[in-house]
């Protein structure tokens, strides 16, 4: 793993590759216009970061990044796209587990900074290769780790109760306030939440939670997701999974199982959580305060490490 930081660039447009190669001239870069050979290149050159386009004729970026996640999990993955359809955005979370979702045209300074950080994290932070735990350990984790559901719709709550209650230590909250009360009282490893409870937006809570406690795995439920909201949840909330309502038992259980596995392993290996660091929301923008009251933000910040199972990073 010695030597300068290495980046793999994948885009079917050769001029984008030349532009990125020039932008990253201080790094060692590898480029290909053929997404089919991307995974092999990533492994062969042991790259630290992959920047990949979404829409390519032979294969989508999400598929490329999913393959790289499997075969070369050490690399952090960035999806760079000119137009974001919802399917791609959700795929980039659930399948590609991307570190960041970046729009074309990109900002050179921001992209350089982002890639620089990502490359260092990829070098230093240990990898959690598989989220799924061996059975006996999974049973221990299930008995120990609290799953918190934030959902205000009683029908959906009931449905989730039926799906989750038999298997997990699950708690329900219908507001951010109530959710925090629960988290202050017991160890919570997985938060399942809708994007808004009634009229109050929950994305701010989810982002703040991840920003201060990156080892918690968040699963977001949504009815009709808006691509931009999901992209923000990826970049600033490092959401673990997106589930589309109506919630299906199979996918829901799978997501919660692996979310528990992720949390459990991060708890034992806190350095790995750096891989799932959320970006601070843009300064001065409408999100600068995460749309959260200061009191709530303070409570999130001071959630006791004891209850979260890990010392604060």
């Amino acid at each position: 793993m010695a030597g300068g930081l290495r980046i793999l660039l994948v885009d079917d447009e050769a001029r984008i590759l030349r532009a990125l190669k020039a932008l990253f001239r201080d790094y060692q870069t590898f480029e290909t216009t053929n997404p089919l050979e991307a995974a092999a290149l990533a492994r062969q050159h042991d790259v630290d970061v992959v920047i990949c386009d979404q829409r390519m004729p032979e294969k989508t970026g999400v598929d490329v990044l999913r393959d790289i996640k499997e075969t070369h999990p050490r690399a952090l993955r960035i999806l760079l796209t000119g137009y974001s359809d919802l399917k791609a955005v959700i795929g980039s979370v659930n399948e590609g587990e991307v570190y960041r979702f970046v729009h074309k045209p990109w900002d050179n300074t921001e992209l350089k900074e982002l890639v620089g950080e990502a490359a260092v994290i990829a070098r230093e932070a240990p990898v959690i290769a598989r989220d799924v735990l061996p059975t006996h350990e999974h049973d221990r984790a299930r008995a120990h780790v609290g799953v918190l559901v934030i959902e205000h719709d009683t029908t959906v709550q009931q449905r989730l109760r039926e799906i989750l209650q038999p298997y997990y230590k699950v708690n329900f909250a219908n507001s951010a306030e109530r959710a925090l009360q629960i988290m202050e009282q017991q160890e919570t490893g997985v938060v399942i939440s809708e994007t808004n409870a009634g009229r109050s937006d929950l994305t701010g809570l989810l982002k703040a939670l991840k920003l201060h406690h990156p080892h918690i795995a968040t699963v977001v439920l949504t009815e009709r997701a808006n691509a931009q909201t999901v992209i923000e949840l990826i970049n600033e909330g490092q959401v673990y999974r997106m589930l589309i309502k109506p919630v299906r038992m199979g996918t829901c259980r799978l997501s919660v199982d692996s979310a528990i596995g992720r949390y459990w392993q991060l708890k034992q290996n806190p350095q790995a959580a750096r891989r799932y660091t959320a970006a601070a929301p843009p300064e001065g923008g409408p999100n600068s305060s995460l749309r959260l009251p200061a009191a709530l933000l303070n409570r999130i910040r001071s959630l006791p490490g004891r209850l979260l199972g890990v010392a604060k990073l």
């Binding site: 984008i16 020039a22 000119g82 137009y83 045209p105 050179n108």
Partner: protein, 342 residues
Amino acid sequence: MLIGVVVLLLAACGALAFLWLQERKKNADFTAREAQTQDEMKRLQATQSQVIHTTKLASLGQMVAGVAHEINTPLGFVKSNVEVVGDLLDDYRKLVKLYDAAVQLCLQPVDLIFGADKAALDKLVKYVEEARRKLFEARANLESSSLLKDAKELLGDADDGLTQLASLVQNLKGFSRVDRDGMDSVDLNEGLDSALIIAQHQLRDRVKVVKHLQPLPKVRCMASQMNQVFLNLITNAAQAIDGEGTLTIESKPVGQTVEMSFADTGSGITDDVLPKIFDPFFTTKPVGEGTGLGLSIVHKIIKGHNGSVKVRTTPKKGSTFTITLPVDGPAAGTAAATANAA
């Protein structure tokens, strides 16, 4: 007997009066119902024009989304390249400065040579040798530097990208024909290319487009409406194809007409659906995904231009839509303006 007749007559009169009353009531009912029907018609028409408006907005939205994607890629590298070239030029300036410093170093001893003795001269020679070495090195660095070549290449790409962006904008203008309206002599192959660019984001990853376009005589038509027809047919083809497939577009002159066909390898149209495809508001797509106006608009525009639309389809194999248009456009009086709903 007489009484019996009178009673009978009275009964008959009564029955008649009853019937007459019934009839009157029915008439009143009828008038009321007619008024109601008219109300409903009005409401339906209002809804219809609203839906047509929504369709226009939807196809505008689709256009914007498609074009956004086409624009963001060149915009991405043009913007980046211009910034990077600035940095490269700064780096090159640093090399030039080093070269200047080396030149200065070489010039200094010349002043000293004049008042020098033997020992000082030996020192000077050493100094000059060192200065020359530095000068050569700096020059070699300047010459071997790829900074200018890189910058030039990046600017070349940026230039290409800008040309691409300009032609996209040109295309959009051509597609919507904001600058002219009304009848025009149009090369339909050009309109087709614009529509393909607009629909590009729906095709790109999964639908291969094969074009067999023969040179066409100019056709008198409303260009923006024709473009709408092309876009609707291309969009329909893209939506009929689930996963990957091919769209084959052909155009050729046939006598005094022009024929264009759009053949997809999509789901095809089943027999029960086929008779209804040109009906307004008929759609097989889920609520919210299709208005059911696409093909009815195509039909209306082509009819308005005195042309015809034909469809040939095999379920699960695909469909071919063929439009035929007279080169001289619609006969006077049946002006395509009647197709303005689109």
